[in-house]
Amino acid sequence: MKEQEINDKSRRDFLKNVAIATVATAACGSLTCSCTSNKTAVSEKVRLLSPDGEIVEIDSAYLNHQEHMAIISKLEAREGIAGKKFVMVVDLARCKNARKCITACQKWHYRPEETEWLTVKLLKDSEKAAPYWFPKQCFHCDNPPCVKVCPVDATFKRQDGLVLIDNERCIGCKFCMAACPYSTRVFNWNEPELPVEIMKQQYSAETGIPAKVGTVEKCDFCPDRAREGMLPPCVEACPNGVFYFGDENEDTVTNGDETLSFTQLIKDRAGYRFLEELGTKPRVYYLPPKERQFPVERGYENLPDNIKARFKDIMEEKAK
């Protein structure tokens, strides 16, 4: 009974937070601008549209700063957010390789341009099949091969479903990278170049900042933002609403524009998990690229040459 109450409360909290995040996005176009607003500034009310379609009035002081401010204890970072079970749904029918998710992710995590935690692949399942864009971040598997092989418990599975890395414990053996079938993890081969203020920031496994040479890192589903009720930057930045992020316990996912029932969405759109047969039980679901919104070329034509080169083989084969 009590648990039910807690769940209900956290469900409401989540929805409220999601609403705030959503309206913040709507208000500013991008959350980056909220960074400039100051909480101590003269508070003013803003009228915003909630996910339920209602007009709500919110004190601008409630708009969150885009800063990595969730300093939580190491133990909390290992345990995770109580009552949550984060899940993501990626709608392949909507992706046109706009790559806004990547830029937003890189920016939020202070990653150098070439190191992508989140990447977009161009997949072609079989000879006759049509190629499609395939955004891929960490799948936060429920049976994670990476966690199984870590000799020092530097990468761990939390109660909220996330797989995170403690880069203060990681010895850099790279066994997790060899074990991950999805090439999710990246290694800091050289000393990371970070702004001074970021270098000084206290490390948390939830933010992954600052990065450390000789350690492994990867997409973390931005739990620091989730604690603040914000969606991950990739979800917010996507102009086409490809990513739905949410909580399996609440059975709710949102891409910022619409909030849907997770099970219903998976059911209606035949959601599947990538390489299900490996038994890793990913927490990321894909919706097949049926009735696509964009021709695949749209994601290719205007790319810079160096990125275009990645997909050249498949695109040229298709053009034939």
């Binding site: 997949l123 891929k136 066994f175 060899a178 074990a179 081969w189 050289n190 160096n306």
Partner: protein, 451 residues
């Protein structure tokens, strides 16, 4: 410490190797040290600048280092299994080569693990392996296995040496005082009393009984670092025995080469006889056939099953534009030629056998490379990366320098050890039908009584 005439002769014959260092050896030691210092500089670069100085990247996360790790650790396991079995089955012709096998065991178990440490991004956090150990991880199994194995093999070698140390202590050799003293300490007061003999033989038997299965277990655990992942070319049920066999096989080759080198260097033709080469050659041939059989099973099932991901690796291994020529080299030089050379009576000679062993060892090193790198270059998702160094592994000079430094360390230890103990153990030596000693008028058929 009493020796029979045959053992006394063997000792007198080798005494000068312990007494004098020799200019040639000095040259080699300096040469090896130079190599090692180049490796030391590379290590400095790797630590100060990060692993970016190596050719390893996000897809191929392990390269030459782990290949060397498998290679050297394999030699070690082979040495332990070979010497353990020779001891347990009381193979009298094996007595002269036991020391070499055990030297190989101990030296490689020191050199090998250094290479796995080179794969580790944070040297400063190695203690995490002990303060935050996670037993689920095959890496933790391997740490435990190698440490256990290290202790076991040191004891095994030492027990086999005690009698000889007593011989060196009592020999009144022309050696510096510290060396004399060290022999005295290491001999543990062994005088050849009946109770001492009994205790020593029991310890040796027990250690041999422990070391043989232990080597098989740790060798399998090493393979499971790869076998336990979901990757094609690694995720295989035969990986444990495959690695055990590969270790034994390459170790047998190194033993033959070491025998050949010492036979030449110290003129040990009476102890490392032609028969020794032939007998080890036979063992090598059987191991070659076994290794070939395992390799064939791996390739054939993966190819015939033709699952997409498995086949991607197989295609790379057999495509001349990828690893095809190396696969050919590894299997022809590493399997077929050794079998052929030992099978033909014409070439069943020490020089031939040593030569094919030498190339076989190189081929087996290449084989390990072919196990590691092509699989890492074949992730489930297409790489779609334009940074060539991320797509295809190519070892950098610091990696090669450290590899050669590892080989130099291996050889350096061999050189130094052969100046501290006799390469042919003297105390347990038995005269057998094919040790025709040059001083003996009547080649004794009867083995010596004291053992």
């Amino acid at each position: 410490m009493e020796l029979n005439t045959y053992q006394q002769e063997a000792f007198n014959y080798q005494k000068s190797n312990i007494e004098k260092f020799g200019k040639k050896n000095l040259f080699w030691v300096i040469f090896f040290l130079l190599w090692i210092s180049v490796g030391g500089y590379s290590l400095y670069l790797q630590i100060s600048r990060g692993h970016g100085v190596t050719g390893m990247r996000d897809n191929v996360v392990w390269g030459l280092f782990i290949v060397n790790f498998i290679f050297f650790i394999g030699l070690s396991y082979a040495g332990a299994i070979i010497s353990g079995l020779l001891h347990l089955f009381k193979v009298s012709w094996g007595k002269p080569i036991v020391r070499l096998a055990q030297m190989m065991t101990i030296i490689s178990v020191v050199v090998g693990p250094v290479f796995i440490l080179l794969c580790v991004g944070r040297f400063d956090r190695l203690h995490h392996l002990f303060i935050y150990p996670r037993l689920q991880s095959p890496m933790t199994w391997d740490v435990l296995a190698i440490l256990t194995y290290f202790v076991g093999s040191v004891l095994f070698l030492y027990m086999a040496l005690v009698k000889d140390f007593a011989v060196y202590r009592d020999a009144n050799m022309n050696i510096p005082k510290w060396k004399q003293k060290l022999y005295k300490i290491l001999a543990l007061g062994y005088r050849g009393a009946a109770s001492q003999k009994r205790h020593l033989i029991i310890s040796q038997n027990l250690l041999a009984i422990i070391m043989v299965p232990l080597s098989i277990i740790v060798s399998s655990i090493l393979s499971w670092i790869f076998g336990m992942t979901l990757r094609p070319g690694w995720h295989s049920t035969i990986f444990g025995p495959y690695f055990v066999l590969g270790a034994l096989y390459s170790g047998c080759g190194v033993l033959i080469v070491a025998m050949w080198v010492y036979r030449k260097m110290y003129k040990l033709e009476n102890y490392f006889t032609d028969k020794h080469f032939v007998y080890l050659g036979y063992i090598m041939m059987v191991l070659a056939a076994g290794y070939g059989y395992f390799t064939f099973s791996e390739y054939f099932t993966n190819w015939f099953g033709s699952a997409k991901w498995d086949n991607e690796v197989i295609n790379k291994l057999f495509n001349p534009e990828a690893y095809g020529w190396w696969t050919l080299f590894a299997n022809v030089v590493g399997i077929f030629i050794p079998i052929l050379i030992v099978a033909l009576p014409m070439t069943r000679k020490p020089n031939w056998i040593a030569l094919v062993s030498f190339f076989m060892v190189i081929a087996l090193w290449v084989k390990r490379y072919l196990i590691i790198v092509p699989t890492l270059e074949t992730p489930a998702l297409p790489m779609q990366d334009t940074r060539m160094e991320y797509v295809k592994y190519s070892a950098t000079w610091p990696e090669w320098a450290l590899t050669f430094a590892g080989i130099a360390t291996f050889l350096l230890f061999f050189t130094l050890m052969s100046k501290f103990v006799t390469v042919v153990p003297v105390s347990g030596l038995e005269e057998s039908e094919f040790n025709h000693h040059h001083h003996s008028n009547n080649p004794a058929v009867e083995p010596a009584k004291n053992a």
